[in-house]
Symmetry: C2
């Protein structure tokens, strides 16, 4: 089973990486980009048979390690096969 | 218009960040995780009226700046509203 986790900075938190990428895009002529936010994409391969159990485990992983809940939000999807 | 870009290391490329996260998860008791791959999640806000034009521009951004095509793959979706 594969879990796709997306961790993003909370909307109120500064995202200097996003600002830098926005400036880089503007200097390449992509001035139509008005905002950039950058987060993490995490793909986990799990040995877990039930989707319900996988969901609980991945939620615990996010809370304990993958996301910093003070400054980041997370969301995830469980998929049965890879889609890389 | 919002573009969601996912940049991932190519399957043949080492992902030391993923290995470290896998070890961290194992040491927290999440031993069911057999593989972790980490990529970037990029959300772009675009002043572009047509989805077709947006798609071409975002593809160009990925090729020129957002992804390193030697070691990374990218894919993206265009969505009309935010879904952060």
């Amino acid at each position: 089973m594969i879990a796709i986790v997306i961790v993003t900075p909370k909307p109120v938190v500064n995202d200097p990486q996003g600002v830098t990428v926005k400036q880089g895009l503007a200097s390449l002529g992509f001035s139509e980009v008005s905002d950039v936010r950058i987060g993490k994409y995490i793909e986990l391969k799990l040995e877990e048979s039930s989707e319900h159990a996988a969901r609980e485990r991945v939620e615990a992983m996010c809370r304990q390690l993958l996301a910093n809940h003070v400054i980041e939000d997370f969301r995830f999807d469980i998929v049965r096969d890879g889609r890389r």
